[in-house]
């Protein structure tokens, strides 16, 4: 941890953001989007 404090700080902040997202239900919301066909992605909707 003695070098690159900014890199470590970004890693910690990113991990906290991801953990917050899971807590807030974003991973489940992502799953709901990802398990049905995305009409925008395939050029229909």
């Amino acid at each position: 941890m003695r070098k690159r404090p900014l890199s470590w700080a970004l890693l910690v902040v990113s991990s906290l953001l991801a953990a917050f997202g899971v807590w807030a239900g974003e991973a489940s919301a992502l799953w709901q989007k990802a398990v049905s066909v995305c009409l925008s992605c395939i050029g229909i909707g």
Partner: protein
């Protein structure tokens, strides 16, 4: 190292698209792994996709911010941004050079023996503009009456969606084929234009359009894993410049070796005859890396 990178690219391609039961099922994969963002451009509507696309996830989160906040849900893309940040702060754009299935496809297309072209440097702004407008601003501000935006990049540009999801799904589903209209054919035209670009210019899509690469690129200068250039050892042979797939020129001081455009394929590290390029992993000393390079 290049052989190892190829193997990892093939493994990543197969891992990202590891659901091979799709021809016998009437739905795309619905397992728990789709809660995880794959570190590369791989459409989650691809019938074989086993993971989620971070770019699609981010756009949908941004497009749904207003309705989510209206019902007191704190959904603003923290999960996807955090996942991208974890990969980025650890290794910068290594996902682009080593894991991304669409990046691997581009490298194959560039092997087609036709006349090749280099890109003017101004095109390096392209991915940042696509990130700003198509991923953030348009999904956030162009909304319908209930406040939902659209995933603009997925809808109008994304070649991975058309190639991996649009074409196979339309081939398998007659019902979807009947719905294909102008939007689909315009996306098809965009796909072919991008693929043609990739044949004549190395990593054309990464260098001119890819917003995911732009996001990872923001971390190149601050990631734990970085490249280091020792100008005292450099013999100015320009081998690194000639082998670089994204035309970065650090040996003459034009670019930083940790430029946001670098996809970290490590070809410069492998080819440098003077050992002027080293991998710098926070407290690994330079000579240790050089010894490993000599021993491999």
């Amino acid at each position: 190292m290049e052989r190892g990178r190829r193997r990892i690219q093939i493994f990543s391609l197969l891992l990202a698209n590891s659901y091979w039961l799709f021809p016998w099922k009437d739905r795309i994969f619905q397992g728990w792994t789709k809660r995880i963002c794959f570190p590369g451009l791989n459409c989650y509507s691809c019938p074989a996709a086993a993971f989620s696309c971070p770019l699609g996830g981010l756009q949908n989160a941004i497009a749904g911010i207003r309705p989510a906040f209206a019902v007191h849900q704190l959904h603003f893309g923290a999960y996807v941004l955090g996942t991208i940040g974890i990969f980025g702060s650890l290794m910068g754009r290594i996902p682009c050079g080593w894991f991304c299935p669409f990046g691997y496809l581009q490298e194959w297309l560039y092997r087609i023996p036709v006349r090749k072209f280099s890109l003017p440097r101004i095109f390096r702004w392209g991915p940042y503009l696509f990130l700003l407008f198509f991923v953030v601003l348009l999904p956030l501000f162009v909304v319908d009456v209930v406040g939902f935006g659209s995933a603009w990049f997925c809808k109008f540009v994304c070649p991975a969606g058309t190639l991996e999801a649009g074409l196979p799904l339309l081939a398998m589903e007659p019902g979807l084929r009947r719905l294909a209209g102008m939007l689909f054919f315009s996306k098809l035209a965009v796909l072919f234009a991008i693929l043609a670009g990739c044949v004549v210019t190395n990593r054309f899509f990464c260098r001119t359009i890819c917003p995911l690469g732009a996001l990872f690129g923001l971390f190149n200068r601050v990631s734990l894993l970085r490249l280091r250039f020792d100008s005292d050892r450099c013999v100015q042979c320009s081998a690194c410049r000639r082998i670089c797939p994204v035309d970065i020129s650090f040996f003459d001081g034009t670019d930083s070796i940790n430029s946001g455009a670098c996809i970290r394929c490590m070809r410069c590290y492998t080819i440098c005859p003077a050992g002027a390029v080293s991998i710098d992993l926070y407290d690994v000393r330079d000579h240790t890396v050089q010894e490993e390079k000599g021993g491999s």
